[in-house]
């Protein structure tokens, strides 16, 4: 553990995980908003919107995230000249957020859509039969039930997002995996200690988060 008693090394570690945290937070907000919009499109009565949503999901869900992030940097930034910030590091960060968001939004969309599908049609039919309007049916019958069914899949999506944030290292951000690589290269005598600290940080944060989402999903599940 002597590697981490050196303040410079500790700094590398902390900065690495701060980037992961920032990437995860910004991307999960963007992905949630974008994914919800896409899900609304996919269940809308307008064929053009349904087609757009379906195309988005099929394209981004089946493309490797590495390729998407690569494209954001070399395609959007280097070739087409999209910049998000004058600061090189911040620019890479936001390009990473774009890549993570468009990718994760496809999964969020599918989770929400299948959540809506878990609500039995009879629920909405019964609501209409007692004279509820469309808005009432949606807000007091369908969405509350769908929302509960969505907690578990959304939980695993956000956990996956936190792990996927390491892939932004591809475009030069000093996030945790690049930080680990640097520390390993500088301290060849302590590779196991370094690995277990980095991997352990992910495990210690993500395993309880996973159980937390599972517990929440069970607790709020609609008993049928």
């Amino acid at each position: 553990m002597s590697v981490f008693s050196d303040p410079t090394n500790r700094d590398v570690y902390v900065t690495g995980f701060l980037w992961i945290l920032k990437l995860t937070l910004a991307s999960s907000v963007c992905a949630l908003v974008l994914g919800t919009l896409l899900a609304a499109m996919r269940v809308s009565p307008v064929p053009v919107l349904r087609g757009f949503g379906a195309a988005w999901v099929n394209i981004f869900r089946n493309t490797p995230l590495t390729l998407i992030v690569f494209f954001c940097y070399f395609g959007l930034y280097s070739t087409l000249g999209f910049t998000t910030s004058n600061d090189l590091e911040l620019n890479n960060y936001w390009l990473g957020v774009v890549g993570l968001s468009v990718y994760t939004a496809a999964f969020v969309c599918e989770a929400i859509r299948s959540g809506i599908n878990t609500v039995p049609a009879g629920q909405a039919e019964a609501a209409r039969a007692i004279g509820m309007t469309f808005r009432q049916t949606l807000t007091s019958i369908v969405l509350p039930q769908a929302g509960r069914a969505v907690i578990a899949p959304l939980g695993s999506i956000f956990i996956a997002l936190a792990k996927n944030a390491t892939i932004v290292g591809t475009i030069g951000l000093m996030e945790s995996s690049n930080a680990m690589k640097q520390l390993i290269n500088d301290n060849g005598n302590a590779v196991f200690a370094i690995f277990f600290v980095f991997a352990g940080t992910f495990a210690v944060v993500l395993i309880p988060t996973g159980y937390g989402f599972g517990w929440l999903a069970d607790r709020l599940a609609v008993k049928r």
């Binding site: 307008v46 053009v48 394209i59 995230l65 070399f74 989770a111 995996s177 370094i194």
Partner: protein, 296 residues
């Protein structure tokens, strides 16, 4: 469509008229978006024939894309076989009656599911050589990392599947004198594998996509040869990325289609254990890109 049944009334004349207007409005917006992308490409001269032409020449395919694809598929296939084996072994370990088997298996599975694949790959590729004092082959770094991660996710899928097999199945097997190992290998695992087929295949899609991480440790897979190297020669990184994306999408769409065909087949036979409903089992930390979550 079932979602229509939940969310909307059958459209009447006014709703139909409104939907038509919305269709036109959004159709126009979509065309505007496409035109905007087109003009952005045009501004930077990305429609130049020289940038797209390489893809019509055989040498591009035989010299870069196909060898890359071959290496991608090689790593994916080896990792698939190994992670299925890893998954079965650790699922059985976690279901064992002996705590000294159950506990370590649980720790291994939970740990490898929580560690990002890239971190794992960097450790194997850059870290292990310091210990063994021999260079690590990047093929095996990719395969081992993929196996540990996807194997752990599959172990959880198998475990959920085994637990979903009705208890009467194993009771009946014990009653006719089968031993514990026989019950597991001949009764529970085959039924669990069928019940969990959709989850297993969607995890294999994840595995195929994750081979692209090999690019970062310079394994010559599709992204490395077909995009990075190709673009270095022709300056067409945008075009090469699009072609590579289409190839990945085609592979994964084929796998997904095969999965839903298999799922329909197993459902039709009607002899399959009810798929696990225990959502919490599958939440965990698994599912790169949330595939397991979305696929379950």
């Amino acid at each position: 469509m079932s979602t229509d049944a939940v969310l909307y009334d059958h459209p009447g004349p006014r709703a139909r008229a409104r939907n038509r207007i919305l269709t036109v409005v959004f159709g126009v917006l979509l065309l505007a978006l496409l035109y905007w992308i087109y003009s952005k490409f045009d501004d930077k001269g990305q429609w130049a024939v020289a940038l797209w032409k390489p893809f019509t020449e055989a040498s591009t395919w035989t010299g870069a894309i196909l060898p890359g694809l071959k290496n991608t598929l090689a790593a994916a296939l080896v990792a698939m076989v190994l992670s299925l084996a890893f998954g079965v072994i650790f699922a059985v370990g976690r279901l064992s009656d002996h705590w000294w088997l159950r506990l370590p298996s649980g720790v291994v599975v939970e740990f490898f599911r929580a560690v990002p694949l890239l971190l794992m790959m960097f450790f194997i590729f850059f870290g292990i050589p310091f210990v063994t004092e021999e260079p690590m082959s990047n093929f095996w770094a990719v395969v081992i990392a993929l196996t540990l991660y996807n194997g752990s996710v599959l172990a959880e899928a198998f475990r959920a599947g085994v637990r979903a097999v009705p208890i009467g199945q194993s009771e009946a097997a014990y009653a006719i004198g089968m031993r514990k190992g026989q019950v597991m290998s001949q009764i529970l695992i085959p039924q669990a594998a069928r019940a969990m087929l959709p989850v297993i295949v969607s995890q294999l899609v994840v595995l195929v996509k994750d081979t692209a991480l090999g690019y970062i440790i310079s394994y010559s897979e599709l992204l490395q040869l077909g995009v990075n190297n190709l673009a270095a020669n022709f300056g067409n990184v945008l075009q090469a990325s699009i072609v590579a994306a289409i190839i990945y999408i085609a592979i994964n769409a084929t796998l997904t289609a095969a999965a839903s065909w298999l799922a329909r087949r197993t459902r039709r036979s009607g002899r399959v254990a009810r798929p696990a409903t225990g959502r919490s089992v599958l939440v965990g930390v698994g599912g790169a890109g949330g595939e397991a979550g979305a696929g379950a």
